[in-house]
């Protein structure tokens, strides 16, 4: 850091964004994770995001950590510190630093003077040199370089050193021989920084107590756990980024928690299918036969599954599908995030179809909604599609701890037993709407020798599952499916509504991972005297509250991470509302949406439209209620 710098210095405690620029496949991920987790263990909220290429080794990869004492875990926008260990991306990384920010780099090789900026601070640490002197094995040189810069950051940012050594001890539990060399590497960096720079520098951390009992977990792991707790026994899948780790997590926990103690055999089956068509086919076959079964995929997989999803909708077979969305269309950007499968999922398959979709926002919701999906699928006898995205699925996200009510029983839906069939006086009709809620009774294969057997088919049939091409019978069935759709509204999760203190005539609507950035934007808008009410959609079909919320507001911003405003269009298509009220706020560059972006878009629109965005009078709120 040059002593004579006259420029601005970003000074902050527990509030900054740091980005690591690494080369894919060099072992940087575990060092970067250790950095984020050390801050988390100091009681300071963090939000790490892995920005990685579709590549195994060699291309640039970034790891962005937001530190926010206030607990904002969405992306803020802007970068205060860059740690650059990748010459390939250096020019752009330097450009990305906020004025007054810091650029930490490997100074073994002198910096290209053409890249210098006068408005940021350069911190050079000869990482390669240190490693060359210390280690003879090339792999060690590469791995420990990452640990050394974490050690240097510990000094510069004032991270508690014993927290880091504690993390190393946890990480290498069972491989104790590796602890000492890793701690040594941390010390190398730490000492270099204390000897050469003023530590801590302008940005630093300070222990606080804002994490509570939160956990740091990725959404895919939470979904995998949700499938374990939700009683899934058959998982069929085809590997695809960014969903692969859902089934990986399911398998890891199943091998630990789902092995029959007496026989050592598995209380689950995982089949890696030949493609996504087969994966969903297996899920449908298993659910038809009475097991709870799921698959996980991403947009391209859902495209392939469309025909089967239509069959499951029409033949009324439960299925659980976790769609971890990525950037489309086609192969798109496989390692970037988006919320662009809304249309694809909501109306999946040809003909008149509507599919039940859930939109979790946090790992806790990933866990709960996955478990709930199995109940909903069996209760509603239809596919349930859980739409998460790469951002939530693959990034460690701060979350309330996962909870399970041990008194909870699975809702297996309307299934007739052998005894019920035996006692029935009426002929069993698979598609008879006995309860007038659009949901009929089903039987599992093999239940009774002479009663309850029926033929499942994707062709039109009558109430007794007998093939028919009679138009009236077809229409009766399609109308009943709509009735079931209405029934579904009372089963799916209700939206989360957060009203401004005195209410507002302006609303924002969002779903999924937009939540964190949207809630932060709401806070900043309030600071600018713009009050907004917020509604988070958690399910399709839309609950009645969604329509009411729209009716109660004059202007509504529908914030989403796709180009075409898919959720906005879905609302317009499904609700009796005035489309002109819905203003699209769209971010779809593959990076998670930022609070700054939302704030600027909303404030900018209100300013240019000359809308009086001020707080409602207290009286208005009373009237509304």
């Amino acid at each position: 850091m040059s002593k004579d710098a006259v420029l601005n210095r970003i000074e902050s405690v527990n509030d900054f964004v740091i980005r690591f620029a690494n080369v894919n496949g060099t072992g940087s991920a575990s060092a970067n994770n250790m950095f984020a987790k050390s801050i988390f263990r100091m009681g300071i909220p963090v939000s790490p995001k892995n920005i990685f290429p579709s590549n195994i080794q060699g291309l640039p990869t970034w790891y962005e950590v937001r530190v926010s004492e206030k607990g904002y875990v969405g992306r803020r926008g802007g970068i205060d510190i860059v740690v650059c260990v990748n010459p390939q991306s250096m020019a752009k990384d330097i450009q990305d630093v906020e004025p007054g920010g810091y650029f930490l780099y490997d100074s073994t090789k002198a910096l290209d003077l053409r890249l210098m900026r006068r408005d940021i601070h350069f911190i050079g640490i000869p990482l390669t040199d240190i490693c060359r002197k210390e280690y003879s094995d090339p792999r060690q040189r590469q791995l420990f370089k990452n640990v050394i810069y974490v050690g240097a950051l510990a000094a510069l940012l004032d991270i508690e050193f014993e927290v880091l050594t504690g993390l190393i001890a946890d990480q290498f539990e069972g491989k104790e021989k590796l602890i000492a060399p890793n701690v040594h590497a941390l010390e190398l960096g730490f000492h270099y920084a204390t000897e050469n720079f003023q530590c801590p520098f302008g940005i630093r951390v300070k222990r606080c107590d804002n994490v509570g009992n939160a956990i740091l977990i990725d959404g895919n792991t939470a979904c995998g756990l949700g499938a374990i707790y939700g009683g899934a026994t058959v998982a069929a899948w085809y590997p695809i980024t960014p969903s692969t780790s859902v089934v990986d997590a399911y398998e890891m926990y199943a091998k630990r928690l789902r092995v029959c103690p007496a026989s050592g055999k598995q209380n689950f089956a995982i089949v890696q299918a030949e493609d996504e068509l087969a994966a969903i086919g297996m899920v449908i076959g298993a659910n038809w036969n009475g097991a709870r079964s799921f698959t996980a995929t991403s947009g391209p997989g859902v495209s392939l599954m469309n025909e089967f999803l239509g069959l499951a909708y029409f033949a009324e077979i439960p299925a659980v599908l976790i769609d971890v969305q990525r950037t489309g269309p086609s192969t798109g950007m496989p390692t970037r995030t988006q919320q662009s499968d809304v249309f694809e999922c909501a109306y999946a398959s040809h003909g008149d179809t509507k599919q039940v979709c859930l939109f979790p926002s946090t790992p806790k919701e990933c866990f709960e909604m996955t478990a709930q999906s199995f109940d909903l699928a069996e209760r509603l006898q239809t596919p349930i599609i859980l739409l998460t995205d790469l951002d939530l699925g693959m990034n460690d996200t701060m979350s309330e701890p996962l909870e399970w009510d041990d008194a909870r029983a699975y809702d297996r839906g309307k299934v007739l037993t052998s005894e019920q069939l035996e006692d029935a006086s009426e002929r069993f009709g698979r598609y008879l709407d006995v309860d007038d809620d659009g949901i009929c009774y089903r039987t599992y294969p093999g239940t009774h020798p002479t009663k309850g057997g029926f033929f499942t088919r994707g062709t039109s049939r009558d109430e007794y599952a007998v093939y028919t091409e009679d138009g009236a019978a077809y229409v009766r069935n399609m109308e009943r499916l709509l009735k079931k759709w209405e029934t579904a509204k009372s089963y799916v999760p209700a939206p989360e509504i957060i009203n401004a203190e005195h209410g507002s005539n302006i609303g924002i609507i969002y779903f999924g991972t937009t939540r964190a950035a949207a809630l932060e934007a709401v806070d900043h808008l309030i600071e600018d005297n713009i009050a907004v009410d917020a509604l988070r959609i958690r399910a399709f079909p839309f609950n009645h509250e969604v329509e009411e919320f729209i009716a109660q507001h004059d202007t509504l911003f529908v914030i989403e991470q796709n180009r075409d405003g898919q959720m906005r269009s879905l609302i317009i298509n499904e609700c009796e509302i005035n489309p002109a009220k819905l203003v699209a706020v769209l971010n779809y560059d593959g990076m998670p949406i930022t609070a700054r972006y939302i704030q600027n878009k909303v404030a900018g629109y209100l300013e240019s439209a000359n809308v009086e965005p001020l707080r409602r009078q207290a009286g208005h709120k009373a009237e509304r209620n």
């Binding site: 030949e274 994966a279 002479t450």
Partner: protein, 350 residues
């Protein structure tokens, strides 16, 4: 024509060991063309299940799309059936089988359903060694869309329009052999003497059992020049021999001449007795079956009968290591680890 089956039943209809008559294994009346080979196969399935004394509801019958895939409606009316999507029966059976390993799974498919649109799923069901009976009702053409050649039509075979098929036909039995199927047979819908014992053996086989049944399409592919017409198949059949399936508990009463007969005892004690015509076939040797298929093909003959059988087949459940209890019967206490465990998991994420 009426589609109502009379309820009349002869009081002296023979019953099987479970006390069921053949009627208990029948389905709805067929809507296929009169004389369709597929109806003979349905009748053979009814007879095989009746003779095996299988409880009808312990069978699940699944199919894809096409004429052949319609047939599960026409047999085993008390069993659950599933007419899924085109070419995807294997995946649906895979899932169903994973859910409940205690049922018997009969998959019915056609040559379009298996050799074209569903080739991928067929191939992978074979290599996973799923415990099922996979029947292809093979007529070399697409019936419901009016007679286009299918991928199993022999090269040079003439369709009703008179055009010779320019493409090599896929031999599904040979393919199944190469992919590692543990039971492979070929038969002819018009030969119930052979087909019924083969079906019985296939159903009892505790692994993937494949039967390719040549089943002429009377409407679109029964013309001169077609190699899947009744006339051509009858004239060119070469059976590997006669097959008897002797269930456990029954004495073997037929006598066979030494040297050309072979007995295979199954896991449950049942015996398959094979009276071979050609002693070049060793039914435990894949290569001998493949060679013989090729040899007869070069003489324009269709080799039928039991071609290969692995006495010790593996099943996907064994490979995966699932519990013996059907997965679908597991309850919360076996499936849900509970909140205490979850709190420990939470702690691992702090």
């Amino acid at each position: 024509m009426t589609y109502l089956r009379p309820n009349f039943r002869h009081p002296d209809l023979p019953t099987n060991e479970l006390g069921y008559t053949k009627k208990n294994y029948e389905g709805s009346l067929s809507t296929l063309c009169a004389g369709c080979g597929h109806d003979s196969i349905s009748a053979a399935i009814v007879q095989a299940c009746f003779e095996l004394s299988i409880e009808p509801h312990k069978v699940a019958k699944l199919s894809g799309i096409g004429c052949s895939s319609k047939t599960p409606t026409y047999f085993l009316g008390n069993s659950h059936g599933f007419n899924s999507v085109h070419g995807r029966m294997p995946s649906v059976v895979t899932g169903a089988n994973m859910a409940n390993r205690d049922l018997i799974y009969i998959g019915v498919s056609g040559d379009g359903d298996t050799a074209s649109i569903g080739m991928g799923q067929f191939v992978h069901a074979v290599r996973r060694s799923l415990n099922m009976t996979y029947i292809v009702e093979n007529n070399g053409c697409y019936g419901l869309t009016k007679g286009q050649d299918s991928a199993t039509a022999d090269v040079g075979s003439k369709s009703k329009k008179g055009d010779a098929n320019p493409f090599e036909g896929i031999d599904l039995a040979a393919l199944a052999l190469q992919l590692g199927a543990s039971f492979v047979a070929r038969s002819f819908s018009g030969d119930k003497e052979q087909l019924i014992p083969l079906l019985k053996a296939a159903i009892k086989h505790p692994g993937f059992a494949f039967i390719d049944v040549i089943s002429p399409c009377v409407t679109f592919n029964n013309n001169p020049g077609s190699t899947k017409s009744y006339e051509f198949v009858r004239d060119h059949l070469q059976a590997t021999g006669t097959v008897d399936f002797v269930p456990m508990r029954k004495e073997i009463t037929t006598s066979y001449s030494a040297g050309t007969s072979q007995e295979v005892t199954l896991h449950d004690g049942s015996v398959i007795h094979l009276h071979k015509i050609d002693d070049k076939l060793d039914i435990h040797n894949r290569r001998s079956a493949l060679d013989l298929i090729q040899e007869y093909k070069s003489e324009s003959k269709i080799l039928t009968g039991l071609l290969y059988m692995d006495k010790e087949p593996t099943d996907l459940h064994e490979t995966i290591g699932t519990v013996h209890k059907p997965l679908r019967s597991l309850q919360e206490k076996e499936l849900c680890p509970g909140n205490n465990v979850l709190q420990n998991i939470n702690a691992s994420f702090r």
